[in-house]
Symmetry: D2
Subunit: 336 residues, 4 copies
Amino acid sequence: MSDIRIAVVGAGRIGLVHAENLAHRVRGAQLAAVTTSRPERAAAVGACCGDVPAYPDLDALLAAERDNLDAVVIASSTSAHADNVEQCAAIGLHIFCEKPLALSLADCDRAIAAADRAGAKLMLGHVRRFDAGHVEARRLIAAGAIGQVIAFRAISGDTDPPPASFADPAVSGGLILDAMYHDLYLARWLVADEVVRAYAEGGALVDAGVRSVGDVDNAIVSLRFAGGAMGSLFVSRTTRYAHDLRVEVIGDEGAVHIGRLAQTPVVLLDRQGLHRDTVRTATQRFGDAFAAELQAFVDCVRQDTAPPVTGLDGRAVTAIGLAATRSLHEKSPVQV
Amino acid sequence: MSDIRIAVVGAGRIGLVHAENLAHRVRGAQLAAVTTSRPERAAAVGACCGDVPAYPDLDALLAAERDNLDAVVIASSTSAHADNVEQCAAIGLHIFCEKPLALSLADCDRAIAAADRAGAKLMLGHVRRFDAGHVEARRLIAAGAIGQVIAFRAISGDTDPPPASFADPAVSGGLILDAMYHDLYLARWLVADEVVRAYAEGGALVDAGVRSVGDVDNAIVSLRFAGGAMGSLFVSRTTRYAHDLRVEVIGDEGAVHIGRLAQTPVVLLDRQGLHRDTVRTATQRFGDAFAAELQAFVDCVRQDTAPPVTGLDGRAVTAIGLAATRSLHEKSPVQV
Amino acid sequence: MSDIRIAVVGAGRIGLVHAENLAHRVRGAQLAAVTTSRPERAAAVGACCGDVPAYPDLDALLAAERDNLDAVVIASSTSAHADNVEQCAAIGLHIFCEKPLALSLADCDRAIAAADRAGAKLMLGHVRRFDAGHVEARRLIAAGAIGQVIAFRAISGDTDPPPASFADPAVSGGLILDAMYHDLYLARWLVADEVVRAYAEGGALVDAGVRSVGDVDNAIVSLRFAGGAMGSLFVSRTTRYAHDLRVEVIGDEGAVHIGRLAQTPVVLLDRQGLHRDTVRTATQRFGDAFAAELQAFVDCVRQDTAPPVTGLDGRAVTAIGLAATRSLHEKSPVQV
Amino acid sequence: MSDIRIAVVGAGRIGLVHAENLAHRVRGAQLAAVTTSRPERAAAVGACCGDVPAYPDLDALLAAERDNLDAVVIASSTSAHADNVEQCAAIGLHIFCEKPLALSLADCDRAIAAADRAGAKLMLGHVRRFDAGHVEARRLIAAGAIGQVIAFRAISGDTDPPPASFADPAVSGGLILDAMYHDLYLARWLVADEVVRAYAEGGALVDAGVRSVGDVDNAIVSLRFAGGAMGSLFVSRTTRYAHDLRVEVIGDEGAVHIGRLAQTPVVLLDRQGLHRDTVRTATQRFGDAFAAELQAFVDCVRQDTAPPVTGLDGRAVTAIGLAATRSLHEKSPVQV
């Protein structure tokens, strides 16, 4: 089978990662085009991906390349996802959509229905499910290595807050939906159960930009699963010391930890003690997983198999994130 | 100044640790007597501490040794603490009381008042405040190394549930007050702020004995501090893989982690991978801290200085524990 | 500039790594052809690199593709390297040659002279110099972070001995030249000094195949540098627990360690303790470095700059390896 | 049985450790007296051990306390050990002697014979054999967990050189005998085989005081064992970054590592990365082992059992140290 042709919608940080992987690492696919309204992002794509057409928006892309495309990677703002999915599904493109699928369950349903109607593949970007460490942890848990799961603990910290325009809950969904999202899908996937209740506390404690758009920059969330297990999560936009992503799953016979703080295996020792570097970005930590994730999408399109992460998965995680976000404002637990 | 003479009330696991430290490691003190109603515990005291009189209860001890004592270490059941403190304070003994001070704030107040009236020292057993690692973490935080504190994360897991008779909330105060207690005082001490709200989820998921007395064996607690910081805590009676005590304090400029999983610095490598042992008990992990703690008590008695942990500290922690326990049953956040 | 076209000579384990990187990850280059006399290796190339012509040997390759090639990657047996380099240089191809350059200094000189005469680039495969960890360690040392270097310690262990036919010293150069080679070039590069004396002890202690061809499977080497620093190295073909590559450089003000034992950041905890996986192969550990190394070669060809690792570097390391190998047999220190 | 009475000969750094353990931690023994010619050391003993008679030298001690003593701990300069042992054995005292037993094999033999003649216990100070980590490693190796031992790797680094007067080889035996001694006895004990050949390289690279007395401050030693196993050791008086003691034993089925760099389990994370403290002194690292070691001596005296470390053990290690020291000067391997 010949390579499938894929366009990347949105050339922000994550869009560029996908474009580069399509251009250089994913097999069976070609990067066909990108969309971006900003010339400097088009230049960034050119620098890392070679000569690739850049269109100002999705309409322009589809007008020009429609007959030339098999699939799209949607990496636009979350608030645009559902519309983008509908538009692409309508013309029969397969869709890889970055998380979260949408800012409301209604929009999630609309996007899922559009893909279903069109018979288009719809895969959500749950990148850590393609990381060797998380895959191995899931395998250990499924094999019974830790017994019955009792608790899920997680921290997600980012070194720098996003620009206020992006942090705006109307665009991103807010801290919990946007930045705790990865831990929420890991919780469902690793505990292998559904969340029934969420409670959140949070505050705009550090970053003035986040505060100015009415969001919080740090939050904790308590989860309760249907089977009784519990979740204890912390998310932060301001862990300047590292891109700190660590998960622990505790069972009645053992536990599994995933995560690390150091980027390289270099230790410096001097009179002040022992020093190491830290992971600074998601791409440093999950570079291989981003490539594996897109490969999985390309493979499911080429082999006509079911995507490993579905629209319904994305909807379920969004439901938890929305409940936790509501709890943050109502200051009481919210049923999912 | 000659050595002070100290009796240990209660020769359970922790009472024996204190007796042994008084007999062999603490300077300026002598182990004068113990109380225990069980011959095998008296024998255990003899085996590790030499020839020490053992009395069936506090009344018998005081009847026989009253003029012979300067202080007591109270290591009886929590439900007996307040009465024990009152009785010993009334005859002018200085008091080291194991945590928690009591099962209710009223009893805490009664115990504190008794010591105050008598002019007796009253020090609470907050052992990790005497551990070199926790002391260093506190120093770093106070020195500004992590900036403004944003979040406190903790796990406290014990390898084996206590006997149901001890786990009984009427005796121990229940999982949160009894077993999360250390994390609660560390939270106040390391964040250097007061807790204003607590929310808990928990369940009797593993141990039938714990369930039979109406307690839970695993719980998560969310804390909110007056200044906005947050706490995300997990406590378990059933982490069979280790006595797992780890704390993280995250600030807007950095973070400090305290804790380790391995007991010895031995790594075994074989075809299956890399293997290490784990900490199994609090005394393995905090042996030196228990000795340092009792030394601090003896020093404050001998030098007539203020105890480093006061009855009011114990009361404040109990208040948080009681609020979190109430939240567990009411399924909504509780103000402290 | 258009992509350069590169053939890979030899499709063994390392040849396949280079072929795959040329096919998918290295920019500015195309994989033009490979040589292998074994149909199953040709099939392996096809499986990972797509449709690439495979020739039985270098003569056949050059006969068919000569006008079509800009460069070669030589990944044949060490005993064939010098001849391969001469033959390719003679027709003006640029050359990336796997380590060691040759089995004798005379052959090293012959290969270097051939490339010089032809004006061809000759770069040696010193892969760890392209690993982020080793690069950072070198930067720290050069910046004075550990003061004056005093000692270099290293372990290189492989999980499985090679087939006896490959281990044969007449083919591979023997354990020290073949398997300690990486540590020897790291020693020169990180200590930034030349080795003047080597002493070795070794034995065929484990593997019958290695013994049958007259080589040893485990050895230690002591090095002395011109400036007084010392090296203490261990090499093994039989560390079944891991592909164990760790280096320490100790200075008079500090030390730097490079290396790790675990492959993924997953920790399993159970009643037996703490368990992790281990690195099993060089490609698991240095996958990115292999790509970076070949990228550096392609870049120096395309930009007509000097290769970062020269034939003379390869010759110098070979000289140390030969001296240590001689010491192994003579049982006394040998000057380099 | 009543407590045995023990004097400590020499109140230097290690003598003080033993005195303090006898005074406070070892059971079944009393600290009876110490010798020191320096008033400030006598004061140091008083500060940590209470009221203990201090004599200017061994003659004075024995003259005054002879009938009052059961045993001695010899912690004088190595050059005085053999005479001290002879003198104490002659009057029937049991003897714990710090390592090394003596500066020559003749003196070792003289000391051993003196104890034998007198029927006195003679135990050598091999402290790491009483450390839980090393004991566990030995157990694992003896249980076959790593298969047949192939190699022993070790580093021993001290943060600060001793005063030149002590470093003087005529007093201490020189760097290898004095400071690599612990690794040499661990090598025999963990490999469970005898060393047959040693080769050393060393230099006075850092410390002018060490150089001024004709010793080296850094050295590497290669060992060969009778059964074919190898040893690769580095010793340093100048690892200012830590008291760095780490050992690895590699077998044909696995490996065991013993050692750690960090003192406390505290990790500080900030914008510069991850930071930990380091072990600074042997007593920080091996405080419990020093107490266990002396307890073992006291127990073997009280129970009339054989010492766990004998004079012959001490002699065997001294023989390796002397051979390696000779190799250092002769620049060729020396048979033990």
